[in-house]
Symmetry: C2
Subunit: 218 residues, 2 copies
């Protein structure tokens, strides 16, 4: 039975802390062996009912990416309008929130809602569990990319239905994550939004309760 | 800028592969310093808009856990009925799908849907992004537990609304994961559902497409 020593434990924590959401990329391609390891890590994620509900669409086509980029521009304009009159409007407009065209690879991670139908083990009470499993795969992928020196950025400011249409997703396939992947300009020490002054890291102790909501942990 | 060598990369992959969904626990308590490191790892997960939408409820009370266990029994009975006449019914009834009472600690991970309201950066088009962020925290937690030799099992066969009531969750707080945490009897080489013959690991290459759904990757 595999066990890990304290140095190995420390290394995992270093990886977890060194991971960043990346929006500034170098154009160099992601080597194929690296990409294979990154996808393999995703595939080793836990999944409800061992369903492995994910698929991965590698988007190299500049034509497809330019359509997605248009979706981002459209959606981000709507978002900025929501901040009209808000003092954070200027800051928001300066944030770089995607790297769709600059990154060498885009990657859509989807969830097959019909996989293993009709009996969905573990989803009778929480039907969203397959979507959650797909998120766990994304986190594995993100960490595996980090140890390769590859950055990942999650783009959520796109209309998922229009994205699904561009990617030709059947109705039962749901987009979970649209990722930009490639060598980053740099891995910063802190999250970009923290550095930019958008929001600070919360104090973990304030987020932990015992036995029921609101009851401080001993 | 932190970089990782090939040995460190291999170690991450060993951790990812050694992680299991655990349902058989030893009663020994989880040491407090380990628990602190595990929660800290969760808190270092990426989150949409750096929102950190999660809370952690440590459930030590046997009374609370026995109520949750009742929810499981109730829900699992319904699930088994769905398999009536299905050849997998017997196999399903023999699966151990939770360790609520045996594990020394239960842990509810929740998502605050109102955190940072009214402007939810990155959620205008995908409002579920805060739930997804919370899942990423669960995967960090799961991996950090694994390197400590601590097992985690995700219990999804419980009614989330009844669970929320037991835990006193306000309306804007959504249960994402109900976890059992503790030293496992063992970490098996393969997922329990694979070993039990419920389902095999899929072939990763079959799950990868290029540029659009269904188009084989080069």
């Amino acid at each position: 039975m595999t066990s890990f020593n304290s140095e190995e434990r420390e290394l995992l924590h270093r990886i977890l802390r060194a991971r960043r959401d990346i929006r500034h990329f170098r154009p160099d391609p992601v080597p194929e062996d690296m990409l294979a390891r990154i996808l393999e890590a995703a595939h080793y994620a836990p999944s409800v009912g061992f369903k492995q509900p994910w698929n991965f669409i590698l988007i190299r086509s500049m034509e497809v990416r330019s359509q997605i980029k248009n979706l981002f521009e459209e959606a981000n304009k709507e978002e900025l309008e929501k901040l009209s009159g808000d003092e954070r409007s200027d800051l928001y407009s300066r944030l770089k929130l995607e790297g769709i065209m600059e990154s060498p690879l885009n990657l859509a991670v989807t969830c097959d809602r019909d996989r293993d139908a009709p009996f969905h083990l573990g989803q009778g009470q929480m039907p969203e569990m397959d979507l959650y499993s797909t998120c766990l795969a994304v986190q594995n992928l993100w960490l595996a990319a980090r140890v390769e020196g590859i950055g990942v950025g999650w783009v959520s400011i796109i209309d998922p239905e229009k994205t699904a249409k561009i990617l030709g997703l059947p109705n039962h396939i749901q987009l979970v994550a649209y990722l930009c992947v490639g060598y980053p300009i740099e891995f910063k020490d802190r999250p970009m939004l923290e550095e930019a002054g958008w929001k600070s890291r919360l104090n973990l102790a304030d987020l932990v309760y015992e036995d029921r909501w609101g009851q401080p942990a001993k």
